[in-house]
């Protein structure tokens, strides 16, 4: 069941490469993602899935798989309408790349072997590079270049980190040395500490680059800013979650080795730094999509802080992972609509969005409120849970710092979003209109986030609880 889940999008991608018609490719995209979602649903419904040493499904990967699949489905649905609009450019590159991207993300989520995990994450980088370059202009090439270079280097560092851990096993006298997760976890207490620590740092920096923790985030505003909205959504919601999962795997290892506190401290520092840098960058940000990119940096920081604090905050962070992904989906897709309508993503042109494009504008505003942690949206619940966790452990200074940074973020983001959405209607030069196909996915995401803020399904809660138990020191 696990291998078909990876292969399904891959097969669809292959078919899309050979398929001669535009519509057929769009259909393949939707069918592929729907099939993926369906199979994910079936998998998640099973209490236990038999895995191999290479692939497996624990609570953490269940959670990330669910998020990724859901997000991808919405984006695929959206892509149909989007590509219809960009008919001239075609979808010959876009659709296969998207499907390969999905496949690689799935592989990364399911991988139980650090090497395989690394391979899959690297593949996501490569598969997403053409997606970022979709618009084929100077800016998008620059963004792609920076994305590719920084992420490749980051990923290389992560590989080195993995090797360090392996070498730590070798030095520690573990035999046979195996980068399989369960084997490493079992052998963790024997690993050579300096190598393990260095390995964790390299993995944190490497996958942190991919995830976009500051100050490793520099590719993010450029890539998110220039990529099509749906790619931005997939990167900000899906890819970052996958990279975060990779970091969590390393954290599991550190926990098993009894060095959890050290790892958590590093995560906490990175998290606070990310929030700070994001807050600084969001003040008076005139570019809407770059704004969202910085918001992504901020939320990666929040995730890191949550996991860094542990206990209840971990639960909150994992819940926040879900909320953040879905909200980012809604935000990026609605901003994509605005960008298409206004033919700009700069604040001096995007004005009066609610009056001009009522549905997309409203969704953008709602997404903004959601992502900044306003009740009754889901991120509030997770954010508040993280805060309770932080304060609950007596880290009052961290909690207050977070609150101050959240306030700065709100001010910065609010100034831009409100200027863009409020005001009298503008005459648009483009023929774009809010059509059902491009409005439904962001609407779905925002509604989902709203529901998660008012009612958390019991299975999800227990899943997150199990997942956060995996990140706790068990001994």
């Amino acid at each position: 069941m696990l291998i078909p889940l990876i292969l399904l999008p891959l097969v669809a991608a292959l078919l899309a490469v050979v398929a001669p018609w535009h519509q057929a490719r769009s259909l393949l995209l939707v069918v592929g993602s729907a099939g993926h979602l369906l199979m994910t649903g079936v998998l998640l419904a099973q209490p236990a899935v038999v895995g191999t040493p290479w692939l497996g499904l624990d609570a953490l990967s269940r959670l990330v798989l669910l998020v990724t699949s859901l997000l991808f489905f919405g984006c695929a649905f959206y892509a149909v309408g989007y590509l219809e609009y960009h008919r001239v450019r075609g979808n010959r590159v876009m659709v296969p790349c998207l499907l390969v991207f999905l496949s690689a993300m799935t592989l990364a989520v399911l991988a139980r072997h650090f090497g395989l995990l690394w391979l899959a994450v690297e593949t996501t980088t490569l598969a997403s590079a053409p997606l970022i370059y979709y618009n084929r202009n100077r800016l998008s090439i620059e963004a792609t270049w920076k994305y590719l270079l920084l992420c490749s280097i980051g990923i290389a560092l992560a590989l080195l980190g993995i090797f360090f851990i392996g070498y730590g096993a070798l030095v520690g006298g573990v035999h046979p040395v195996d980068l399989q997760l369960d084997a490493l976890l079992a052998a963790a207490p024997d690993l050579s500490r300096p190598w393990l620590h260095a390995g964790f740092v390299f993995i944190l920096v490497g996958f942190g680059t991919k995830m976009g923790l500051a100050p490793l985030h520099c590719w993010k505003p450029d890539a998110y800013g220039e990529a099509p909205g749906l790619v931005g959504a997939l990167l900000a919601g899906g890819l970052t979650s996958v990279a975060f999962l990779a970091i969590l795997r390393a954290l599991q290892l550190m926990n098993a080795a009894g060095d959890g506190p050290l790892a958590r401290q590093a995560l906490l520092i990175m998290g606070l730094l990310s929030m700070t840098v994001a807050a600084i960058s969001m003040v008076r940000q005139p570019d809407i999509k770059r704004l969202l990119a910085y918001s992504s940096v901020e939320h990666m920081g929040i995730l890191a802080i949550g996991v860094g604090m542990g206990k209840l905050a971990t639960f909150g962070a994992l819940l926040h992972l879900v909320n953040n992904a879905l909200t980012k989906g809604g935000l990026f897709l609605s901003v994509a609509n605005l960008q298409r309508g206004y033919a700009s993503k700069k604040l001096w042109e995007v004005r009066g969005a609610i009056a001009t494009l009522p549905v997309s504008g409203t969704l953008f505003l709602a997404g903004f409120l959601a992502i900044t942690g306003s009740p009754p949206f889901g991120p509030f619940m997770s954010l508040f849970t993280i805060l309770r966790g932080v304060f609950g452990q007596g880290a009052t200074a961290v909690g207050l710092g977070m609150l101050v940074l959240l306030a700065v973020v709100f001010v910065g983001m609010g100034a831009t979003v409100l200027t863009a959405t409020q005001g009298p209607a503008v005459q648009l030069d483009t023929p774009y209109q809010d059509k059902l196909l491009v409005v439904l996915p962001p609407l779905g995401f925002v509604l989902l986030v709203l529901v998660l803020g008012l009612w958390l399904p019991e299975p999800l809660v227990s899943l997150i609880r199990e997942a956060s138990a995996l990140l706790e020191v068990t001994s």
Partner: protein, 654 residues
Amino acid sequence: MVGLLVFGLVLIATSGVPGLAWRRGDSGERLFCGQVLAGVLGCLVPLAATAVSGGLRLELPWAVPAGWLVLELDALSATFIAPLLLVVACGALYGLRYWPQAEHAANGRKLRLFYGLISGAMLVLLLARNALLFLTAWEIMALSGYFLITTEDDKSDVRQAGFIYLIATHIGTLSLFGLFALLGQHCGSSDFPLTASLPAAGSGLLFGLALLGFGMKAGLMPLHIWLPGAHAAAPSHASALLSGVMIKTGIYGLVRFTSFFAHIPAWWGWTLLALGAVSGVLGVALAIAQHDIKRLLAYHSVENIGIIAMGLGLALLGRSAGQPALVVLGLSGCLLHVANHGLFKSLLFLSAGSVIHSVGSRDIDHGGGLLKRQRWTGLFFLGGAIAISGLPPFNGFISEWLIYLGGFGVLETPSSPLAFAMLSVPALALIGGLALACFVKVFGVVFLGEPRTDAAARAHESPPSMLWPMALLLLACGWIGLFPLSLRALLERAVSDWTGAPAVATLSADLAPLGLVAAIGWVLVVGVLLLGAWLHRKSATAPREVGTWGCGYLFPAPRMQYTASSFGDSLVRLFQFALRCERHGDRVEGLFPDKQEFSSHTPDLVLDRGLHPLFSAIAAFLGRLRRRLQNGIVACYLFYVVLTLTGLLVLVRL
């Protein structure tokens, strides 16, 4: 009973939803109004039941982390809910003609949707006994408030006001996040702790966060920055709701929060007392300097919140020093003034709206002589003005009297540690005097004299559906002023809800003189009416065709009347040290002076003089920093990677 309450609540909260279907025609607004009124009636029954017997409680599971749907209606909540229901109903009715869908096709539906939502959210907030439920309702209220304020978002000043409001309210909300997260740690669950169950030790941070979060909403002085702009920007009946009711949720929060603690540190009370006095005096001083009637009323909200905070501060001091009489007087003054302010401020906003509706301007100096053209509106405004100035026989006097008594009361025990609390008395006196001056100015300039503009000369009376809500509110003001003892039971129960101790018999004695106050109020009303009737009959045949005596000048013109600026000028000069009023225009000099212009403008002390420049500087600095950090050079980004790597390696000490 609980079912009825929830049913009414849901009806109110969703009242704007059905109307979304009608873009044209008035079915939507009628449906909205009907639903609000039905919901209010539904809620009134359980409310009345609470006033008679004990409270109601509802507990249901709620599938969010640490969430639990706990609603409880006790006397403390009831004192906030009662004026809320009245104002909501009056505003809904008023809106039918004030903001008809036919004239406001673009934003009428939005206004009604959020009007219903904010009312429902406030009800939930006042009933909630769980932190998550409270915060959710709080933010729904805050956001709905934002959309009410930006009803006319095609105007840039409205957007500006809305933005400032949103920032302020969100900062408040964030500090409440911190507050409730910390509180949850203190009491072990996110349900509200029982009254007087927490020790106060180490809760200074809690109080600070509560003061920031709730004070921001209430509009205590340095935190009032959002209030004047927001109330001026919203449609009048929405302003009535925001100013009359919404800002009181901040007070409610403070009252509820302080009720959790068994012992109150004295500095909490002193802080509130001092902030209250500053808000009161500076609020009213700023109000006098305004020309925009709604901004003026908004500053009066700051003033009244100050009075309320002084009451709460006295009550807190009473708690910390163990003086039950002070607790009763302070808290019942505070609670009663909350209700009173809700009533008369709504009344004033509605009647100001009626003036704006017919004159078409918010500028006080564009009115004049309206009492002849809008006799009922003028009468209602006058009633509200007397009430808000705290003059007998209206309700404002009753609550201020209670707080005064608290202030005097601290002197009764010799060498009491609270002796300095008696400074609230002269502060209240100054506030009262200034408020009186301010409302003489507004009423005189807008309603009396000759019309200053053509629009004022052509003004017409508002339709009955706008007048009845005002009449209802004035009646309520009069009721509290003339039958204050009818509220005694509710107030006493609210006090015992707050302190956690059952009401003691001696406490009633403190409120007993209210009967005599009311009696004197009655004599006053009857005496004035009798003498007035006599004078009126005697003067029935008098000639009314002459002009006002011009002191020898033969050609007086309406423009020569005293204006709002000139009226406020002498008082504004007295407070120049704090107001920093800006004057534009030259002195008139010489025997045959040229044409001169004069205008004055009083920017907000905190917002325009302090925060605006400060935040601009910070934003500019952050912008420079951002450009330095994200400079577009890949090599530099790689350098960050190396730095991070090195830093973390040092951190884990390999």
